[in-house]
Amino acid sequence: MIINRILVILFSITTGILLSGKTYAQKDSIRLEPVIVQGFVPVKFMSGLKVQKFDSTTLSQFKFRNISDLLSLYTPIAFKNYGPGQLNTASFRGTSSNHTAVLWNGLNINSPSLGQTDFSTIPVAGFDQLSVQYGSAASIVGTDAVGGSILLGSSPVNAGFNASVGHQHESFDNYQSQVSANYGVKLNDIWKISGKTNAYYGMTNNHFPYSQRRGYSILPSETFQKGLVQDLFLQSKNDQELSAHIWLTNNKLTIAPNELAGRELTLTEAYRTMLRYRFKDLALRTSWVRDIIDYAKSDFKNPDHAVTDKFSNRIEKDFQWNIGTNGNAVQVKAGAEWTHFRAKLSGYKNPLITENRGDLFLLTRFQVTQRVLLSLNLRQALITRFNPPVTPSFGGEYILIQKHFYHLKLKGSIARSYRVPTLNERYWKELGNPEIRPESGWNREIGLDQTYQITANQHLTTSITGYYNRIKDWTYWNPARNYRVENLKQVLAKGIEFQLGWKSNYGVLRSGANLGYAFNNSTQEKSYDAYSAEIVGKQLVFVPMHSGNGNVYVLYKKWKVTGQLQAFSKRYSTFDNSQFLPGYTLVNMLTETTLNLNRIRLLIQGRVDNLANTFYLNVRNNAMPGRSFALSLVVNYRSTKNNFY
C-alpha cells in the first residue's frame, strides 16, 4: 500500500498529473527535402540531417485529429498511449518521452516541469506547418533534441478573406468543431497585414457500446479540448516583419467519469504568446508561456496545482560571405537566447522555483561546391547551478549523382546532444535531486536520398538512414531507491529507417504512396546494481523493434480515397523484457470529396478507423477501441482577391 502511494507519486512526477488558409491543391503528401522556413527554426543549417515536411493537404486531412494520429501514420515515432484521449508521449528513435523537442515557432514548448509533451493535448488545428527532424539537433534546437524534434509553425497568409467552419462527428459520441478565418490587407505601399484566427473545440466522450474487448477492460474516460490560435503578421517591402502569435489550449481529461468517488481529473492548460521582429538579417523574439496542470480526484475540489512560467528572449543575426573563386556562399547565424523560469508546484520543496538559462549559438553552412554542402554548429547552454557541455554538430551532404531525372545524395552527421534535467527532476521534494547532471549523447548518422523521375507521370523518392546514438547519464526514477531520480543509465539507440514516396499524375487520375519502415534497437548498456545486470542489453520498454507505416491514395476528379496503415512489433513492458504488449497493425480508410458552389467550397470526409477491428492494448494493459467511424464537413468561403500586389 505504501508502494501504491509511492507509485502514485512517481507516476505523477513522470507524467505530470499530480502537479499541481489552406491550399486545396492535391500534392504529394510528403516532401523529404529540407525546407527553408525563414526565422522560426533554422532548418537550413541542419545539413546531413533528415527533415520530413508535411504539406497542407496532409494537415487538412488530419484537421480534426491530434498530432499523434498524424505522426504515427507518417513517421516511425512510437507513441506510448495510456488510452483514447489520454496521456500520449513520444519515443523518437528509441529514446524516452523526454528526448523529443517540440518547437512552436522555434520555441521549445515541452513542459518545463515534466520535460515532455503530452501529444493528446496538441491538435493539428493548432498550427499551419509541421516538420519532423530526425536525430540529435541540439546545437540548433537546444535541450531535449536527443531523438528528434517536432517543429510546429504559423505561416503568413495571402490577401483577401477566407473563413471556414467545420464539424466532425465520430463513433462513441465524439465530436470536434472548428471555426477559422484568415485575412490579409495592404495597409499602404510598404506594409501589409495578415492574420489567422482559429478556434477549436472537441468532446471525446468515448461512449463505447462495450466495456471490454476479449476480456480486457476499456477504461472509461472523457476528454474535453478547446483552443484558440491567433497569428498576426505585419510585413513590409523592405524586408521587415513583425508578428504576434498566441496559442491557448485547454485539455480536460476525466478518467472513470462515472465513478464519483474515484474519478481522476487532469486539466492541462497552456498560454503561449510570442512577439517576433525581423529586419533583414536581424531577428528578435520574445515569448511568454504558462503551463498549468491541475490534478484532482473525486470531487475535484482541491486540485494539486502546478504552474510554470517561461519567459524567453532571443536575438539572432545572419551573415553571408562569398568565398573562393566560385563565390561559394558561407552563411552564418549567430545568436543568443535567455530564458527565465518561474515554477510553483505543490510537490516541490520550495514554494517558488526560479531559474535562468542562457544559450549562445553559432551556426554555419558552407556550400563548398555545387555537390558538397557542410555545416558546423556550436551551442553552449548556461544554466543556474550547472552547465551542459559545449554542444557541437557537424553535418555534410554530397550529391553522388545529379541528372535531370535522377538524383542521389549521401549525407551524414555527427552531433552532440544534451538534455537539461526537468524542474521535477531537480526540485521535487525528497525524490528530486538538485545535483543531477544533464544527460549527454553523441548521435552519428548516415543516409542516402534518392529521387527518380521514372516517367513524365511518375516520380519516386526513397531514403535510407542509419543512426547510432549513445546517451550517457540518462536519468531514471530509480525504484530501488524509492523512486529517487538518478543518472543511472547509459543507452545505445541504433537503427535503420527506410522511406519511400511514389506519385503518379495522369490528369484526372492521380495516385501516390508513402511507405516507411524502421528498425530500432535501443538498449541499456550499464549495470548499476545486482539485478540491473538482467536488463543490460535488453530493448527499452515500449520501444518497438520494428515499425511500419503506409499511406496510399487514389484521386479521381474530385474524389479521393486514402488507405492508411501502421504496424508495430511487440513492445516490451518490463526492463528485463519478461513481459510485452503484442504487436499489431491498424488500417484506416478515408474518402473525401469537394463541392464548389461559387465562392463556397464544401469538403466532406468519411473515415473508418481501425477498419479490421484489430484488438490491441495500451500501456495500462487496457484494450483500445475497435472499429469506429467519422464524418466531417468543412464549409469554406473565400473572397476573390487573394494577392497583395
Partner: protein, 363 residues
C-alpha cells in the same frame, strides 16, 4: 470344497475391495487440473501497468510458469494481485486496477485456473486481503475509493461463495488490511498509513463487529499459534492475544529503533515461531534490513542476530514442507524472485517469478 471356499472368499474380497475403491472414487475423486498441487506466487506488478499475475511451480520445480491465469484464459487479470484464497474448487483472486471502477475479485476454478466469474465495482474497490470463513463465505478487506488517502471509506466485503455476490459490507476505518479467520471470528487489521490503532473482531455468523481491541500501533493480525493464541503486529510490537477474552497477554517490543518497521510476518509450519522482516530506508532511499525469527513462547524478540540478512517484499512458510518462501523485488519494472530458505535461514534456491512478488499460496 475348501479350495472353492477360498476362491469365493477371494472373489468376495476382490469385489468388496473394488466396491470400496469404486465408491471411494465416486465420493472423493482426485481433482483434475494443472494447478492442483504446488506453490502460487502473487505478483503485485507495476501499479500503473496493471500487470499483476500469479506464477506457479510445483514444490519440486525450480522454474515457474508465469501468469497462469492468462495462459489458461487468454486474457490478463488486469491489475495488481493483492490476494488469493481457495475454497474447495473455487479460487478467488483480488485484482487492483490503477483506475477506479475496474477492481475486482476474479473467481476461478482453483485446479484448472479457468475463469468462472468476477465481482467488480462498486462491491469491490481497492481490495487488499482475502480469507475464507465459515458458512460458505469469503471476506475481503477493501479500502473503498479512498480518493483522499485518508482511509475513511474502508469495509469488509462479505462474499457468498454460492451466489458469487457481495451480501454485506462491514465498515472499517483506517484502511482494513490483514485478516485472520479463526473459529467463527474474523480479526481485521489496518494499514500503517491509516493511523488506526485498533484490531477489529467480526462475528462471522452475524457478520457484525463484536469488539475493537485497542493496540499500540496499526494492527497486523498474523495467525493463530500452536497454543491457540492470536498474534498480531502493532507498530513496533508483537502482541499475543487471547482469542476469547481479547486480552493482550504479552507485548514483545521488536527492537527499539523507531525508524525501522516490522512487516511480512509469517507463522512457521509448526505454528511455534514467527518470521518477519525489519527494515528501514536510509538517507539515500535505499532499503536496508534483515529477516528475524522468534518463538511464540519467547519473552523477548532478539533483533541482534538476524535469521537471514536480507529484506523481502513477501514472506510465507509452506505449511506442508516448512520451507520459507521469500519474495524479492529488484524493481517494479522487471521480474522478481521467489527465494526458498530452510527454517534455519539457510538458502535452498531461487526461482524467477513475475513483477513484485508479495505473497504466496500453497496447495
Amino acid at each position: 470344497m475348501n479350495n472353492m471356499k477360498k476362491q469365493l472368499t477371494r472373489v468376495a474380497a476382490l469385489v468388496a475391495f473394488s466396491l470400496v475403491f469404486w465408491s471411494c472414487n465416486q465420493s472423493d475423486p482426485a481433482p483434475k487440473g494443472d494447478y492442483v498441487k504446488g506453490v502460487f506466487v502473487l505478483n503485485e506488478g507495476n501499479f500503473f501497468q496493471n500487470n499483476g499475475a500469479i506464477s506457479f511451480f510445483t514444490r519440486e520445480e525450480t522454474t515457474s510458469q508465469d501468469d497462469i491465469f492468462s495462459r489458461v484464459n487468454g486474457k490478463v487479470l488486469g491489475g495488481g494481485v493483492q490476494g488469493y484464497a481457495v475454497a474447495g474448487e473455487k479460487g478467488l483472486i483480488l485484482v487492483d486496477n490503477s483506475a477506479a471502477g475496474l477492481d475486482k475479485v476474479e473467481i476461478i476454478n482453483s485446479n484448472t485456473f479457468q475463469d468462472l466469474t468476477s465481482i467488480g465495482a462498486p462491491d469491490i474497490e481497492n481490495p487488499r486481503e482475502i480469507v475464507i470463513g465459515n458458512n460458505n463465505k469469503a471476506y475481503v478487506s477493501c479500502w473503498g475509493a479512498n480518493a483522499d488517502y485518508k482511509y475513511t471509506t474502508g469495509y469488509i466485503a462479505v462474499i457468498d461463495l454460492g451466489s458469487h455476490k457481495v451480501t454485506k459490507k462491514i465498515a472499517i476505518t483506517g484502511g482494513p488490511e490483514n485478516l485472520v479467520y479463526n473459529n467463527g471470528k474474523l480479526f481485521v487489521g489496518t494499514n500503517s498509513d491509516g493511523g488506526g490503532k485498533t484490531l477489529t473482531v467480526i462475528n462471522t455468523t452475524s457478520d457484525d463487529v463484536v469488539k475493537t481491541i485497542t493496540v499500540p500501533g496499526s494492527a497486523t493480525p498474523i495467525g493463530i499459534d500452536a497454543n491457540g493464541k492470536l498474534w498480531a503486529g502493532a507498530g513496533t510490537n508483537a502482541l499475543k492475544i487471547n482469542v476469547d477474552s481479547y486480552a493482550i497477554e504479552s507485548t514483545l517490543p521488536i527492537g527499539s529503533d523507531s525508524k525501522k518497521s516490522a512487516r511480512n510476518f509469517a507463522l512457521s509450519a509448526d505454528l511455534k515461531s514467527i518470521f518477519f522482516v525489519l527494515s528501514y530506508f536510509d538517507a539515500n532511499y535505499v532499503s536496508h534490513g534483515e529477516t528475524y525469527k522468534f518463538g511464540v513462547t519467547d519473552t523477548q524478540i532478539n533483533v541482534a542476530t538476524p535469521l537471514i540478512k536480507r529484506v523481502f517484499s513477501g514472506l510465507s512458510v509452506d505449511p506442508s514442507q516448512g520451507l520459507i518462501y521469500a519474495g524479492v523485488t529488484p524493481s517494479y519494472a522487471q521480474a522478481g524472485y521467489a527465494v526458498r530458505y530452510r527454517g534455519d535461514g539457510s538458502l535452498v534456491d531461487s526461482i524467477k517469478v513475475g513483477v513484485a512478488p508479495t505473497g504466496f499460496f500453497f496447495k
